[in-house]
Symmetry: C2
Subunit: 200 residues, 2 copies
DNA sequence: TCTTTGTTTGACCAACTGGTCAAATCAACG
DNA sequence: CGTTGATTTGACCAGTTGGTCAAACAAAGA
């Protein structure tokens, strides 16, 4: 039987995960060091390793905890709702996540661009199952003529691409736009874009 | 006066850049080692540093050489052509680059996700100038009623996002689709998507 | 051929890396 | 208070890192 975490354990584990998110999302797994994370968490390196057995453990703990958060918006998509509304709402939720959780987005981006060595199983497992399920729903809407006859999988990819771009390529977007709030115009644009794609 | 490169210099410099592209695009700058690159190039590590003064020099040489290739498709967009055709052709060229040069795409993705520390100047310089120029052209088309009244900058971003997604997130796309050629269906889908967005 | 210039390498270095460990310190509870 | 278990740390380690350097080796022209 495992003992319940103490007050200090809760606080420090949380601090480490927050620090890990900061560092890993900026430098990727191999580019990040335990020292960086320790400093960001306000702990010594050996103390870090008292709470997590290894660098890898911090990283995978982060990734797996985030995977739920990441899949939630798609899970909310309701087969019984109005097709266009459901897909647009999903798009908005994803864009909100890019705005409110850019570090999480970049953590995944880093991981996947580099070949997803730590979460390959999750991609062809949980993720694939969920996407297939929702793609079937969308395909149903398309066959019923409620939206344009688009490839549902690629529609989902396109929503990912369009929304996550604003978090993952934030530096580029800001460099080109010279705006302090790129999301202001992104929202209406994406609304128009997705609406257009779905229009029969 | 600088001397012209010898035959051996040409061969080895090219080998190093190819090897660097392989390694850097997979692991990012900090995640890559000179040993990895040396092995991939078929040279010893000191020999590598005979041709390039540092790891950083190899990386930035790669990035700057690639920047031209990367901007070329957008430069080709012709203000005097048919708006829809020009934008669709641009989309196709970008998707082709994702298919034919995925390592280059991932190299940039890695760099930009991690905050573009090596090419920040290029982003707010050359890139921004080019994008502003082409955005003005697109804005002109929109004002003239030749395409839908979309935000030109975000239209360009969306084309980047949609096309580069297939190179940068290749692992994820393949894991979900279970296809050996994700680009087969991506082409028609993107055609429909961009065409829809532009439709008045 | 000899010489000059270009090329390659083994040995080496200091800094940094993830990780260990015993000892010191602290918190909580009876 | 005293004791027990949780927490923290300094010192340390072996492996890796980017980079140096002198010496060995090849190429090419005179």
């Amino acid at each position: 039987m495992t003992k319940p975490p103490t007050r200090i354990q809760k606080r420090n584990r949380a601090a480490i995960l927050t620090a890990g998110l900061d560092v890993f999302s900026q430098y990727g797994f191999r580019g990040s060091t335990l020292d960086q994370i320790a400093v960001a968490a306000g702990l010594s390196k050996p103390n870090l390793l008292y709470y997590f057995p290894s660098k890898d453990a911090i990283y995978t703990a982060l990734l797996e905890r985030l995977l739920e958060t990441w899949l939630a918006p798609l899970q909310q998509m309701n087969a019984d709702g109005d097709p266009v509304t459901e897909i647009l709402d999903y798009t908005h939720r994803k864009l909100e996540m890019s705005r409110d959780y850019p570090r999480e987005s970049r953590l995944f981006a880093n991981e996947i661009v580099q070949g997803a060595p730590h979460i390959a199983d999750h991609l062809s497992g949980e993720l694939r199952v969920l996407v297939d399920e929702k793609a079937a729903v969308i395909q149903g809407w398309a066959k019923a003529g409620k939206i344009a006859d688009v490839d549902a999988h690629h529609l989902i990819f396109s929503i990912w691409a369009l929304t996550q771009h604003y978090a993952d390529f934030d530096v580029q977007v800001r460099a080109v736009l010279n705006t302090d709030d790129p999301f202001a115009r992104a929202g209406p644009f994406l609304d128009h874009a997705v609406r257009s794609i779905l229009r029969r």
